[in-house]
Protein backbone atom coordinates (compact mmCIF):
# COMPACT_ATOMS: atom_id res chain seq x y z
CA UNK A 1 0.00 0.00 0.00
CA UNK A 2 1.47 3.35 -0.94
CA UNK A 3 1.04 5.75 1.91
CA UNK A 4 2.13 8.89 0.18
CA UNK A 5 0.62 8.65 -3.27
CA UNK A 6 -3.09 8.45 -2.70
CA UNK A 7 -5.03 9.04 0.46
CA UNK A 8 -7.06 6.03 1.45
CA UNK A 9 -10.61 6.53 2.50
CA UNK A 10 -12.32 3.95 4.62
CA UNK A 11 -16.04 4.26 5.02
CA UNK A 12 -17.79 1.51 6.94
CA UNK A 13 -21.09 2.51 5.35
CA UNK A 14 -19.82 2.14 1.79
CA UNK A 15 -18.14 -1.19 1.66
CA UNK A 16 -18.59 -3.26 -1.43
CA UNK A 17 -18.83 -7.01 -1.51
CA UNK A 18 -16.74 -8.51 1.25
CA UNK A 19 -15.50 -11.27 -1.07
CA UNK A 20 -14.17 -8.73 -3.58
CA UNK A 21 -12.68 -6.63 -0.81
CA UNK A 22 -10.75 -9.67 0.40
CA UNK A 23 -9.57 -10.37 -3.14
CA UNK A 24 -8.30 -6.82 -3.56
CA UNK A 25 -6.70 -7.07 -0.13
CA UNK A 26 -4.78 -10.20 -1.09
CA UNK A 27 -3.45 -8.43 -4.15
CA UNK A 28 -2.41 -5.38 -2.11
CA UNK A 29 -0.78 -7.53 0.55
CA UNK A 30 0.89 -9.94 -1.89
CA UNK A 31 4.28 -9.21 -0.34
CA UNK A 32 2.89 -10.31 3.01
CA UNK A 33 1.80 -13.64 1.52
CA UNK A 34 5.33 -14.08 0.20
CA UNK A 35 6.79 -13.32 3.64
CA UNK A 36 4.41 -15.71 5.40
CA UNK A 37 5.24 -18.53 2.99
CA UNK A 38 8.93 -17.79 3.35
CA UNK A 39 8.64 -17.81 7.13
CA UNK A 40 6.92 -21.19 7.12
CA UNK A 41 9.46 -22.78 4.80
CA UNK A 42 12.50 -21.23 6.48
CA UNK A 43 11.49 -21.89 10.08
CA UNK A 44 10.56 -25.47 9.38
CA UNK A 45 14.02 -26.33 8.15
CA UNK A 46 16.26 -23.83 9.82
CA UNK A 47 17.34 -25.92 12.76
CA UNK A 48 17.37 -29.32 11.12
CA UNK A 49 20.47 -30.86 9.65
CA UNK A 50 18.81 -32.29 6.58
CA UNK A 51 16.90 -29.10 5.90
CA UNK A 52 14.65 -29.11 2.89
CA UNK A 53 15.48 -32.77 2.25
CA UNK A 54 12.89 -33.70 4.87
CA UNK A 55 10.10 -32.76 2.48
CA UNK A 56 11.44 -35.36 0.11
CA UNK A 57 12.36 -38.01 2.65
CA UNK A 58 9.06 -38.05 4.46
CA UNK A 59 6.83 -39.29 1.58
CA UNK A 60 9.66 -41.55 0.48
CA UNK A 61 9.77 -43.23 3.89
CA UNK A 62 6.00 -43.66 3.93
CA UNK A 63 6.13 -45.12 0.44
CA UNK A 64 8.85 -47.63 1.32
CA UNK A 65 6.97 -48.87 4.39
CA UNK A 66 3.71 -49.17 2.51
CA UNK A 67 5.34 -50.83 -0.46
CA UNK A 68 6.89 -53.44 1.81
CA UNK A 69 3.55 -54.06 3.48
CA UNK A 70 1.18 -53.88 0.54
CA UNK A 71 3.00 -54.68 -2.68
CA UNK A 72 2.36 -58.43 -2.51
CA UNK A 73 -1.28 -57.70 -1.71
CA UNK A 74 -1.66 -55.41 -4.69
CA UNK A 75 0.38 -57.42 -7.18
CA UNK A 76 -2.10 -56.50 -9.90
CA UNK A 77 -0.92 -52.91 -9.76
CA UNK A 78 1.92 -52.42 -12.15
CA UNK A 79 4.71 -50.26 -10.71
CA UNK A 80 3.08 -50.12 -7.28
CA UNK A 81 5.67 -47.76 -5.69
CA UNK A 82 4.95 -45.07 -8.29
CA UNK A 83 1.20 -45.65 -8.09
CA UNK A 84 1.27 -45.28 -4.33
CA UNK A 85 3.66 -42.34 -4.16
CA UNK A 86 1.84 -40.29 -6.79
CA UNK A 87 -1.42 -40.60 -4.86
CA UNK A 88 0.23 -40.18 -1.50
CA UNK A 89 1.94 -36.86 -2.21
CA UNK A 90 -1.27 -35.37 -3.61
CA UNK A 91 -3.16 -36.52 -0.52
CA UNK A 92 -0.46 -35.32 1.87
CA UNK A 93 -0.56 -31.92 0.20
CA UNK A 94 -4.31 -31.69 0.73
CA UNK A 95 -4.27 -32.95 4.33
CA UNK A 96 -1.33 -30.77 5.39
CA UNK A 97 -2.44 -27.53 3.79
CA UNK A 98 -6.03 -27.67 5.00
CA UNK A 99 -4.82 -28.41 8.53
CA UNK A 100 -2.25 -25.61 8.25
CA UNK A 101 -4.98 -23.18 7.17
CA UNK A 102 -6.80 -23.88 10.44
CA UNK A 103 -3.67 -23.42 12.54
CA UNK A 104 -2.76 -20.23 10.71
CA UNK A 105 -6.09 -18.52 11.34
CA UNK A 106 -5.93 -19.50 15.00
CA UNK A 107 -2.41 -18.02 15.21
CA UNK A 108 -3.38 -15.01 13.13
CA UNK A 109 -6.50 -14.42 15.22
CA UNK A 110 -4.51 -12.49 17.80
CA UNK A 111 -3.04 -10.31 15.07
CA UNK A 112 -6.46 -9.69 13.55
CA UNK A 113 -7.49 -8.15 16.86
CA UNK A 114 -4.68 -5.62 16.54
CA UNK A 115 -4.20 -4.62 12.95
CA UNK A 116 -6.16 -4.73 9.73
CA UNK A 117 -5.07 -7.44 7.31
CA UNK A 118 -6.90 -9.26 4.54
CA UNK A 119 -8.18 -12.14 6.60
CA UNK A 120 -7.76 -14.66 3.82
CA UNK A 121 -3.96 -14.08 3.98
CA UNK A 122 -3.52 -16.92 6.42
CA UNK A 123 -5.29 -19.59 4.37
CA UNK A 124 -3.72 -18.36 1.13
CA UNK A 125 -0.21 -18.47 2.59
CA UNK A 126 -0.84 -21.95 4.04
CA UNK A 127 -1.70 -23.18 0.54
CA UNK A 128 1.31 -21.37 -0.90
CA UNK A 129 3.63 -23.15 1.51
CA UNK A 130 1.98 -26.45 0.59
CA UNK A 131 2.52 -25.88 -3.12
CA UNK A 132 6.25 -25.30 -2.55
CA UNK A 133 6.48 -28.49 -0.51
CA UNK A 134 4.53 -30.39 -3.15
CA UNK A 135 7.01 -29.30 -5.80
CA UNK A 136 9.86 -30.61 -3.69
CA UNK A 137 8.11 -33.92 -3.16
CA UNK A 138 7.93 -34.41 -6.93
CA UNK A 139 11.69 -35.03 -6.82
CA UNK A 140 11.51 -38.36 -4.95
CA UNK A 141 8.54 -39.41 -7.08
CA UNK A 142 10.44 -38.87 -10.30
CA UNK A 143 13.46 -40.62 -8.79
CA UNK A 144 11.35 -43.64 -7.86
CA UNK A 145 9.81 -43.75 -11.33
CA UNK A 146 13.27 -43.76 -12.89
CA UNK A 147 14.62 -46.38 -10.49
CA UNK A 148 11.66 -48.73 -10.92
CA UNK A 149 11.77 -48.27 -14.66
CA UNK A 150 8.51 -46.47 -15.24
CA UNK A 151 8.97 -44.17 -18.20
CA UNK A 152 8.35 -40.46 -17.65
CA UNK A 153 6.16 -39.30 -20.48
CA UNK A 154 5.67 -35.83 -21.87
CA UNK A 155 2.24 -35.89 -20.20
CA UNK A 156 4.13 -34.63 -17.12
CA UNK A 157 3.55 -31.10 -18.47
CA UNK A 158 -0.04 -31.43 -17.28
CA UNK A 159 1.08 -31.73 -13.63
CA UNK A 160 1.18 -27.96 -12.93
CA UNK A 161 -2.48 -27.70 -13.95
CA UNK A 162 -3.37 -30.60 -11.66
CA UNK A 163 -1.46 -28.91 -8.84
CA UNK A 164 -3.31 -25.66 -9.42
CA UNK A 165 -6.67 -27.41 -9.22
CA UNK A 166 -5.61 -29.30 -6.10
CA UNK A 167 -4.51 -26.02 -4.54
CA UNK A 168 -7.83 -24.33 -5.41
CA UNK A 169 -9.77 -27.19 -3.85
CA UNK A 170 -7.58 -27.20 -0.73
CA UNK A 171 -7.97 -23.42 -0.36
CA UNK A 172 -11.76 -23.71 -0.56
CA UNK A 173 -11.86 -26.46 2.05
CA UNK A 174 -9.27 -24.65 4.20
CA UNK A 175 -11.35 -21.45 4.22
CA UNK A 176 -14.52 -23.27 5.27
CA UNK A 177 -12.69 -25.14 8.02
CA UNK A 178 -10.87 -22.09 9.35
CA UNK A 179 -14.16 -20.17 9.56
CA UNK A 180 -15.61 -22.98 11.67
CA UNK A 181 -12.45 -23.20 13.77
CA UNK A 182 -12.82 -19.55 14.82
CA UNK A 183 -16.08 -20.45 16.52
CA UNK A 184 -15.36 -24.00 17.60
CA UNK A 185 -11.86 -25.12 18.56
CA UNK A 186 -12.79 -28.82 18.38
CA UNK A 187 -13.07 -28.56 14.60
CA UNK A 188 -9.34 -29.25 14.38
CA UNK A 189 -9.58 -32.58 16.20
CA UNK A 190 -12.73 -33.63 14.39
CA UNK A 191 -11.14 -32.86 11.06
CA UNK A 192 -8.14 -35.09 11.83
CA UNK A 193 -10.52 -38.02 12.35
CA UNK A 194 -12.37 -37.20 9.15
CA UNK A 195 -9.08 -37.02 7.26
CA UNK A 196 -8.10 -40.56 8.26
CA UNK A 197 -11.46 -41.99 7.22
CA UNK A 198 -11.43 -39.95 4.02
CA UNK A 199 -7.96 -41.17 3.09
CA UNK A 200 -8.96 -44.82 3.40
CA UNK A 201 -12.09 -44.15 1.36
CA UNK A 202 -9.96 -42.75 -1.46
CA UNK A 203 -8.03 -45.14 -3.71
CA UNK A 204 -4.52 -44.03 -2.72
CA UNK A 205 -2.80 -47.08 -1.31
CA UNK A 206 -5.08 -49.55 -3.06
CA UNK A 207 -6.26 -49.78 -6.67
CA UNK A 208 -9.87 -48.78 -7.21
CA UNK A 209 -10.62 -52.16 -8.75
CA UNK A 210 -10.53 -53.85 -5.36
CA UNK A 211 -13.54 -51.86 -4.21
CA UNK A 212 -16.67 -54.00 -4.23
CA UNK A 213 -18.71 -53.34 -7.35
CA UNK A 214 -21.66 -52.17 -5.28
CA UNK A 215 -19.77 -49.33 -3.59
CA UNK A 216 -17.21 -48.43 -6.22
CA UNK A 217 -19.40 -45.87 -7.93
CA UNK A 218 -20.09 -44.02 -4.69
CA UNK A 219 -16.58 -44.08 -3.33
CA UNK A 220 -15.08 -42.80 -6.53
CA UNK A 221 -17.57 -40.52 -8.21
CA UNK A 222 -18.93 -38.81 -5.13
CA UNK A 223 -15.51 -38.33 -3.58
CA UNK A 224 -14.02 -35.01 -4.74
CA UNK A 225 -10.50 -36.05 -3.80
CA UNK A 226 -10.75 -39.09 -6.05
CA UNK A 227 -11.10 -36.85 -9.10
CA UNK A 228 -8.37 -34.46 -8.03
CA UNK A 229 -5.93 -37.27 -7.32
CA UNK A 230 -6.77 -38.87 -10.65
CA UNK A 231 -5.77 -35.86 -12.72
CA UNK A 232 -2.52 -35.64 -10.76
CA UNK A 233 -1.73 -39.33 -10.93
CA UNK A 234 -2.68 -40.13 -14.53
CA UNK A 235 -0.10 -37.87 -16.22
CA UNK A 236 2.65 -39.06 -13.85
CA UNK A 237 2.05 -42.71 -13.10
CA UNK A 238 -0.15 -43.41 -16.10
CA UNK A 239 2.01 -41.50 -18.54
CA UNK A 240 -0.99 -40.19 -20.47
CA UNK A 241 -3.07 -37.05 -20.35
CA UNK A 242 -6.27 -37.29 -18.32
CA UNK A 243 -9.45 -37.33 -20.39
CA UNK A 244 -11.38 -34.13 -20.98
CA UNK A 245 -14.18 -35.46 -18.80
CA UNK A 246 -11.81 -36.09 -15.91
CA UNK A 247 -10.32 -32.63 -16.23
CA UNK A 248 -13.75 -31.01 -16.49
CA UNK A 249 -15.07 -32.78 -13.39
CA UNK A 250 -11.98 -31.92 -11.35
CA UNK A 251 -12.07 -28.28 -12.49
CA UNK A 252 -15.73 -27.85 -11.59
CA UNK A 253 -15.15 -29.37 -8.14
CA UNK A 254 -12.07 -27.24 -7.47
CA UNK A 255 -13.46 -23.93 -8.71
CA UNK A 256 -16.87 -24.40 -7.06
CA UNK A 257 -15.29 -25.32 -3.72
CA UNK A 258 -12.99 -22.32 -3.89
CA UNK A 259 -15.84 -19.93 -4.66
CA UNK A 260 -18.06 -21.34 -1.92
CA UNK A 261 -15.22 -21.28 0.60
CA UNK A 262 -14.19 -17.74 -0.32
CA UNK A 263 -17.76 -16.39 -0.09
CA UNK A 264 -18.47 -18.18 3.18
CA UNK A 265 -15.23 -17.03 4.79
CA UNK A 266 -15.58 -13.42 3.62
CA UNK A 267 -19.17 -13.25 4.79
CA UNK A 268 -18.20 -14.36 8.28
CA UNK A 269 -14.82 -12.59 8.48
CA UNK A 270 -16.20 -9.36 9.97
CA UNK A 271 -17.52 -11.38 12.90
CA UNK A 272 -14.13 -12.91 13.74
CA UNK A 273 -13.04 -10.01 15.92
CA UNK A 274 -16.37 -10.16 17.74
CA UNK A 275 -15.35 -13.54 19.07
CA UNK A 276 -13.62 -13.20 22.40
Amino acid sequence: MEVSEKTMIYDSAKRGSSALEELRGIFQYRDLIYQLVRRDIVTRYKRSVLGIAWTMLQPLGMMIVMTVVFSSLFQTVEGYPSYLLSGLIAWTFFAQTTTAAIHQIVWGGTLLHRIYLPRTSFAVSAIGTGVINLMFSLVPLIAIMLITGRPIQWSIIFVPIAMLLLAAFALGVGLILSTLAIYFPDVTEMYQIILVAWMYLTPIIYPEEILPEAYRFWVTNLNPMYHLIQIFRIPLYGGILPSWTEVAIASVIAVATLIIGWLFFSKKADEFTYQA
Binding site: V3, Y29, Y116, M190, T273
Partner: protein, 248 residues
Amino acid sequence: MQLNDNTETVIRLENVSVRYRLPEERIGTLKEYAIRVLQKRVRYNSFWALHEIAINIKKGEIFGFIGRNGAGKSTLLKVISRVLVPTEGRVWIKGQVSPLLELGAGFHPELTGRENVFLNGTLLGHSRREIEDHLEEITDFAELGAFIDAPLRTFSSGMVARLGFAVATTWKPEILILDEVLSVGDEAFQLKCKNRMQGFRTEQVTSLLVTHSMQTVEALCTRVAWIDHGIIKATGTPDEVIKAYRQG
Protein backbone atom coordinates in the same frame (compact mmCIF):
# COMPACT_ATOMS: atom_id res chain seq x y z
CA MET B 1 -1.76 24.21 19.45
CA GLN B 2 -4.62 26.21 18.02
CA LEU B 3 -7.25 24.46 15.99
CA ASN B 4 -9.23 26.39 13.49
CA ASP B 5 -12.38 25.15 11.86
CA ASN B 6 -10.82 25.09 8.43
CA THR B 7 -8.69 22.09 9.30
CA GLU B 8 -10.02 19.05 7.52
CA THR B 9 -11.72 16.23 9.36
CA VAL B 10 -9.84 12.95 9.07
CA ILE B 11 -11.91 10.77 11.40
CA ARG B 12 -15.66 10.94 11.64
CA LEU B 13 -17.73 8.60 13.76
CA GLU B 14 -21.50 8.80 13.40
CA ASN B 15 -23.59 7.00 16.00
CA VAL B 16 -21.13 4.15 16.20
CA SER B 17 -22.32 1.23 18.30
CA VAL B 18 -20.72 -2.12 18.93
CA ARG B 19 -22.76 -4.92 20.39
CA TYR B 20 -21.17 -8.08 21.60
CA ARG B 21 -23.36 -11.14 21.81
CA LEU B 22 -22.17 -13.60 24.35
CA PRO B 23 -23.85 -16.95 24.78
CA GLU B 24 -25.43 -17.26 28.21
CA GLU B 25 -23.37 -20.33 28.88
CA ARG B 26 -20.05 -20.75 27.23
CA ILE B 27 -20.28 -23.14 24.30
CA GLY B 28 -16.81 -24.25 23.42
CA THR B 29 -17.28 -27.06 20.97
CA LEU B 30 -19.14 -27.72 17.78
CA LYS B 31 -20.60 -30.89 19.27
CA GLU B 32 -22.01 -29.00 22.21
CA TYR B 33 -23.35 -26.30 19.93
CA ALA B 34 -25.14 -28.83 17.72
CA ILE B 35 -26.77 -30.42 20.75
CA ARG B 36 -27.84 -27.04 22.12
CA VAL B 37 -29.32 -25.97 18.81
CA LEU B 38 -31.33 -29.17 18.60
CA GLN B 39 -32.57 -28.60 22.12
CA LYS B 40 -33.20 -24.92 21.25
CA ARG B 41 -31.13 -23.86 24.22
CA VAL B 42 -28.84 -21.24 22.74
CA ARG B 43 -29.53 -17.91 24.40
CA TYR B 44 -27.44 -14.82 24.13
CA ASN B 45 -26.80 -11.89 26.37
CA SER B 46 -25.98 -8.86 24.36
CA PHE B 47 -24.19 -5.86 25.67
CA TRP B 48 -23.20 -2.61 24.06
CA ALA B 49 -19.47 -2.07 24.28
CA LEU B 50 -19.98 1.24 22.49
CA HIS B 51 -23.23 3.10 22.23
CA GLU B 52 -23.91 5.86 19.72
CA ILE B 53 -20.47 7.38 19.71
CA ALA B 54 -20.11 10.51 17.61
CA ILE B 55 -16.74 12.21 17.23
CA ASN B 56 -14.99 14.34 14.65
CA ILE B 57 -11.22 14.42 14.76
CA LYS B 58 -9.24 16.84 12.67
CA LYS B 59 -5.89 16.56 11.03
CA GLY B 60 -3.00 17.10 13.40
CA GLU B 61 -4.97 16.61 16.60
CA ILE B 62 -3.61 14.50 19.41
CA PHE B 63 -6.77 13.06 20.77
CA GLY B 64 -6.80 11.24 24.09
CA PHE B 65 -9.30 8.74 25.41
CA ILE B 66 -9.62 8.26 29.12
CA GLY B 67 -11.90 6.11 31.24
CA ARG B 68 -11.91 3.06 33.46
CA ASN B 69 -10.86 -0.40 32.38
CA GLY B 70 -13.54 -1.96 30.24
CA ALA B 71 -15.15 1.36 29.42
CA GLY B 72 -14.80 0.77 25.69
CA LYS B 73 -11.65 2.74 24.87
CA SER B 74 -9.83 -0.10 23.18
CA THR B 75 -12.97 -1.18 21.33
CA LEU B 76 -13.20 2.34 19.97
CA LEU B 77 -9.61 2.21 18.73
CA LYS B 78 -10.35 -1.15 17.09
CA VAL B 79 -13.28 0.37 15.24
CA ILE B 80 -11.08 3.21 14.02
CA SER B 81 -8.24 0.91 12.99
CA ARG B 82 -10.65 -1.16 10.86
CA VAL B 83 -10.19 -4.26 12.98
CA LEU B 84 -13.78 -4.24 14.17
CA VAL B 85 -16.72 -3.35 11.95
CA PRO B 86 -19.32 -1.43 13.98
CA THR B 87 -22.64 -3.15 14.59
CA GLU B 88 -24.40 0.12 13.83
CA GLY B 89 -23.38 3.56 12.68
CA ARG B 90 -20.70 4.78 10.37
CA VAL B 91 -16.94 5.13 10.55
CA TRP B 92 -15.28 7.39 8.03
CA ILE B 93 -11.50 7.63 7.96
CA LYS B 94 -9.26 9.55 5.61
CA GLY B 95 -5.72 8.25 5.52
CA GLN B 96 -3.83 5.17 6.51
CA VAL B 97 -4.22 4.14 10.14
CA SER B 98 -1.08 2.76 11.81
CA PRO B 99 -1.74 1.10 15.11
CA LEU B 100 1.27 0.89 17.36
CA LEU B 101 -0.04 -1.89 19.53
CA GLU B 102 2.20 -4.22 21.43
CA LEU B 103 5.52 -3.83 19.74
CA GLY B 104 6.73 -6.83 17.85
CA ALA B 105 3.47 -8.74 17.55
CA GLY B 106 4.01 -11.12 14.69
CA PHE B 107 7.74 -11.56 15.18
CA HIS B 108 9.07 -15.08 14.85
CA PRO B 109 11.88 -16.22 17.19
CA GLU B 110 13.62 -18.43 14.63
CA LEU B 111 13.86 -15.78 11.94
CA THR B 112 16.72 -13.30 11.84
CA GLY B 113 16.32 -9.63 12.65
CA ARG B 114 16.34 -8.81 8.95
CA GLU B 115 13.74 -11.46 8.11
CA ASN B 116 11.53 -10.23 10.93
CA VAL B 117 11.73 -6.67 9.64
CA PHE B 118 10.32 -7.86 6.32
CA LEU B 119 7.64 -10.00 7.97
CA ASN B 120 6.55 -7.25 10.33
CA GLY B 121 6.73 -4.55 7.68
CA THR B 122 4.52 -6.47 5.28
CA LEU B 123 2.08 -7.20 8.10
CA LEU B 124 1.76 -3.45 8.47
CA GLY B 125 0.96 -3.20 4.78
CA HIS B 126 4.30 -2.06 3.35
CA SER B 127 5.71 -3.57 0.20
CA ARG B 128 9.01 -5.42 0.06
CA ARG B 129 10.57 -2.60 -1.92
CA GLU B 130 9.53 0.03 0.59
CA ILE B 131 11.09 -2.05 3.35
CA GLU B 132 14.32 -2.56 1.43
CA ASP B 133 14.55 1.20 0.98
CA HIS B 134 14.25 1.77 4.74
CA LEU B 135 16.13 -1.26 6.03
CA GLU B 136 19.21 0.68 7.06
CA GLU B 137 17.22 3.36 8.82
CA ILE B 138 15.32 0.69 10.76
CA THR B 139 18.38 -1.24 11.88
CA ASP B 140 20.17 1.96 12.83
CA PHE B 141 17.29 3.14 14.97
CA ALA B 142 16.99 -0.27 16.63
CA GLU B 143 20.78 -0.36 17.21
CA LEU B 144 21.02 -3.98 16.18
CA GLY B 145 24.53 -3.90 14.73
CA ALA B 146 25.76 -7.39 13.94
CA PHE B 147 22.62 -8.97 15.37
CA ILE B 148 20.67 -8.13 12.23
CA ASP B 149 21.45 -11.58 10.85
CA ALA B 150 21.08 -13.47 14.12
CA PRO B 151 17.83 -15.22 15.05
CA LEU B 152 15.44 -13.12 17.10
CA ARG B 153 15.52 -15.60 19.98
CA THR B 154 19.08 -14.42 20.73
CA PHE B 155 17.94 -10.79 21.13
CA SER B 156 17.48 -9.05 24.46
CA SER B 157 13.95 -7.87 25.20
CA GLY B 158 15.10 -4.29 24.71
CA MET B 159 16.35 -5.09 21.22
CA VAL B 160 13.02 -6.69 20.33
CA ALA B 161 11.12 -3.64 21.57
CA ARG B 162 13.40 -1.29 19.67
CA LEU B 163 13.04 -3.28 16.49
CA GLY B 164 9.24 -3.38 16.82
CA PHE B 165 9.08 0.36 17.41
CA ALA B 166 11.49 1.07 14.57
CA VAL B 167 9.46 -0.92 12.04
CA ALA B 168 6.19 0.61 13.20
CA THR B 169 7.34 4.24 13.10
CA THR B 170 9.85 4.44 10.27
CA TRP B 171 7.12 5.46 7.87
CA LYS B 172 5.43 8.68 8.84
CA PRO B 173 1.90 7.56 9.65
CA GLU B 174 -1.16 9.54 8.65
CA ILE B 175 -3.13 8.47 11.70
CA LEU B 176 -1.24 6.94 14.59
CA ILE B 177 -2.88 4.85 17.28
CA LEU B 178 -1.16 4.39 20.62
CA ASP B 179 -2.67 2.02 23.15
CA GLU B 180 -0.54 2.16 26.32
CA VAL B 181 2.62 1.05 24.58
CA LEU B 182 5.25 3.62 25.30
CA SER B 183 6.24 2.23 28.66
CA VAL B 184 8.75 -0.39 27.52
CA GLY B 185 12.51 -0.38 27.31
CA ASP B 186 15.21 1.52 29.17
CA GLU B 187 15.51 5.26 29.56
CA ALA B 188 17.59 5.83 26.47
CA PHE B 189 15.03 4.01 24.36
CA GLN B 190 12.16 5.88 26.00
CA LEU B 191 13.84 9.12 25.09
CA LYS B 192 14.29 8.01 21.49
CA CYS B 193 10.61 7.08 21.28
CA LYS B 194 9.58 10.41 22.77
CA ASN B 195 11.72 12.29 20.25
CA ARG B 196 10.20 10.43 17.38
CA MET B 197 6.68 11.07 18.69
CA GLN B 198 7.57 14.73 19.11
CA GLY B 199 8.62 14.77 15.48
CA PHE B 200 5.29 13.35 14.40
CA ARG B 201 3.56 16.02 16.40
CA THR B 202 5.31 18.84 14.60
CA GLU B 203 4.61 17.11 11.31
CA GLN B 204 0.87 17.25 11.97
CA VAL B 205 0.35 13.52 12.31
CA THR B 206 -3.08 12.86 13.77
CA SER B 207 -2.66 10.70 16.86
CA LEU B 208 -5.10 8.81 19.04
CA LEU B 209 -3.97 7.90 22.48
CA VAL B 210 -5.37 5.62 25.16
CA THR B 211 -3.74 5.91 28.53
CA HIS B 212 -4.38 5.88 32.23
CA SER B 213 -1.71 8.46 32.87
CA MET B 214 -3.37 11.86 33.28
CA GLN B 215 0.09 13.38 33.15
CA THR B 216 0.60 12.12 29.60
CA VAL B 217 -2.84 13.34 28.61
CA GLU B 218 -2.19 16.81 29.96
CA ALA B 219 1.24 17.00 28.40
CA LEU B 220 0.39 15.70 24.95
CA CYS B 221 -3.28 15.90 24.04
CA THR B 222 -5.06 18.68 22.28
CA ARG B 223 -8.47 17.22 23.03
CA VAL B 224 -9.77 14.46 25.25
CA ALA B 225 -12.87 12.29 25.45
CA TRP B 226 -13.98 10.51 28.58
CA ILE B 227 -15.64 7.22 27.89
CA ASP B 228 -17.70 5.36 30.42
CA HIS B 229 -19.79 2.23 29.83
CA GLY B 230 -19.56 2.68 26.07
CA ILE B 231 -20.79 6.26 25.91
CA ILE B 232 -18.98 9.58 25.76
CA LYS B 233 -19.41 11.41 29.04
CA ALA B 234 -17.46 14.49 28.07
CA THR B 235 -15.22 15.91 25.37
CA GLY B 236 -13.08 18.99 25.51
CA THR B 237 -9.72 20.29 26.58
CA PRO B 238 -7.62 18.02 28.83
CA ASP B 239 -8.21 20.26 31.86
CA GLU B 240 -12.00 20.24 31.61
CA VAL B 241 -12.37 16.57 30.89
CA ILE B 242 -9.89 15.37 33.51
CA LYS B 243 -11.69 17.50 36.07
CA ALA B 244 -15.05 16.03 35.12
CA TYR B 245 -13.59 12.51 35.13
CA ARG B 246 -12.13 12.93 38.61
CA GLN B 247 -15.43 14.24 39.95
CA GLY B 248 -17.48 11.56 38.20
